[in-house]
Amino acid sequence: MSKNSITPELQKDMYYHMALARALDDRMWILNRQGRAPVVYSSNGHEAAQVGSAFALNRGEDWIVPYYRDLALVLAYGMTPRQVMLHLLGKAEDPNSGGRQMPAHWGLKERHILTTGSVVATQDIHAAGLALASKVLKDGRVSVAYFGEGSTSQGEFHEALNFAAVHKLPVIFFNENNGYAISVPARKQMAVMDIAARAEGYGMPGVIVDGNDPLKVYEVTKEARERALAGEGPTLIEAKTYRFVPHSSDDDDRAYRSREEVAEWKKRDPLVTFEKHVLDNKILSQEEHQAMQQKIKDLVNDATDYAEQAALPDPDTLGLYVYHQ
């Protein structure tokens, strides 16, 4: 773990959100395997990158534009476990979409999480646009686009970086590079080793960070945010990480990744290593840890029960909100 000035309280809170995300994620898989949830997209393995970056932002005020991998991110940004479960089960009360979107299509206006579609890299441009408004309105907000490395093959990723750099927009492009776009490895996605290398072509800094270390991620994100607020323009951050589970509950990663490779990365599971860090450094006592684990378990149970009992959308609402009303 990096030396840092991040307070123990903050580290405790980071760990809590990482552990909450993992526990909620595990529960979602169980619900899927029991036939109670149609599909799951996981943040399992990405928690440090997501939580570390979220904590460097003015959460709820700065805009984030997530992608489907970002469960831990949206939790760190203020979405509740109940809201996540309502979304998973397509319930009327789902604040992301009222049961209209597939799971993991996040969006929560009151926390400044912009709604997202399924076509990858579209959100990069939206983040630039949010930042364009911040520049004109001088509202002091930074916007962050989150995306996987596969999506950097899309033209809109490049258009977004270029637009943002030309106009020196207060935006951060945050890549979670887990090495695979479903089954396609990064070496078949691009002929460069690092996403961050792309930054130079657009005239912005590109930063590589260990995506399994939340404190390092926090630091580089903080720095990028300060640059953005100082009018120095966008930063591209590449957090190198790994997903420990298949792309989705409908995928089988044994078709394209060796078990040895997964096991090797598992040694650096961010939840395990950061847990060790907070316990070894007495940031979290054993008693606090146990209490926290119980709290998480209770929250996950509560979220599951609440969402399962919640009402499904009324078919009569199908035609609502096509236009402003």
Binding site: G107, G117, I125, G129, A133, D139, E159
Partner: protein, 327 residues
């Protein structure tokens, strides 16, 4: 009240709107220093500054995608696509993002923006500077599509589009820019989106059309009037939403409908209008509905005889209406 061209009406409306509301920004390729390739935005950057009238990079998806983000975060963007033919790199952002954001967020988010784009042919623009693209967008729930036919409407519809809480595509016919002139009041006024305009009452044939074709239909009506054929003309003004009531009313009144547009025949708005009449006013008809439209070739060719052969002209409209009247 001043007499203005169609182009001047759009420019002066943009100026008036930019003065009225600081949240409005105008941007696109060449709209700033150059004032746009057609000069629609001439002088706006000088008055409102580079932060509100922006020369953007040459990338349509980025122009529309940033407008979406900017709209969500409190601005009222009015992006320009330099030619409607160039809108396709942005179609994912328009159709799957702008149009769906309100629906997919269950009403939480909205995208108030106006996409302006010059369209249409007859100006030697060939395959990629002449297209009519409106039907692609009229198919999409969540979008509104307006096409003004006069300087007066250009102003009132643009002001309405800017005030609208949803994404509006505002198509301007290139051949109308300097050829159409008319009186335009100085003060701000709104023309509701979705209301057709009865341009001319008649008895024998209804021509339903929009955009530049309205002025062509009016010319045809003058000619036919001398032959004793009384033509009614309905200007749709908005092709999504359609003014169904006005369409059915004119169809029922004359019993003979000629649908005219420059866009390709198949899948054009004429098909939708015809279907509405067939569903709701069949027994009022005295003749089959006739569609006069651009032919089903991929786009408008460059060389003058080919281009002319593609175009819907006042003469073609006259001929089609005459034939229908005699049915």
């Amino acid at each position: 009240m001043a007499v203005m061209t169609y182009l001047e009406a759009i420019r002066e409306t943009l100026r008036q709107e930019l003065r009225r509301d600081d949240r409005i920004i105008v941007y696109g390729e060449d709209v700033g220093v150059r004032g746009g390739v057609f000069r629609v935005t001439e002088g706006l950057q000088a008055e409102f500054g580079e932060e509100r009238v922006i020369d953007s990079p040459l990338a349509e998806a980025a122009i529309i995608g940033t407008a979406i983000g900017a709209a969500v975060n409190g601005l009222r963007p009015v992006p320009e696509i330099q030619f409607s033919d160039f809108i396709f790199p942005a179609i994912n952002q328009i159709v799957q993002e702008a149009a769906r954001i309100r629906y997919r967020s269950n009403g939480a988010f909205g995208v108030p923006m106006v996409i302006r784009a010059p369209f249409g042919g007859g100006v030697h623009g060939a395959l990629y500077h002449s297209q009519s693209v409106e039907a692609f967008f009229a198919h999409v729930p969540g979008l509104k599509v307006v096409i003004p036919s006069t300087p007066y409407d250009a102003k009132g519809l643009l002001a309405s589009a800017i005030q609208d809480e949803d994404p509006v595509l505002y198509f301007e016919h290139k051949a109308a820019y300097r050829s159409l002139k008319g009186e335009v009041p100085d003060e701000r006024y709104l023309i509701p989106i979705g209301k057709a305009d009865l341009k001319r009452p008649g008895k024998h044939v209804s021509i339903i059309t929009y955009g530049l074709m309205v002025s062509y239909a009016l010319k045809a009506a003058e000619v036919l009037d001398k032959e004793g054929i009384s033509v009614e003309i309905l200007d749709l003004r908005s092709i999504r939403p359609l003014d169904v009531e006005a369409i059915l009313e004119t169809a029922k009144k004359t019993g003979k409908v000629l649908m005219v547009h420059e866009d390709n025949l198949t899948g054009g708005i004429g098909g939708e209008v015809s279907a509405l009449i067939a569903e709701h006013a069949l027994f009022y008809l005295d003749a089959p509905i006739v569609r006069l439209a651009g032919p089903d070739v991929p786009a408008m060719p460059y060389s003058p005889p080919l281009e002319h052969a593609f175009m819907v002209t006042p003469e073609k409209i006259t001929e089609a209406a005459r034939k229908l009247a005699k049915f």
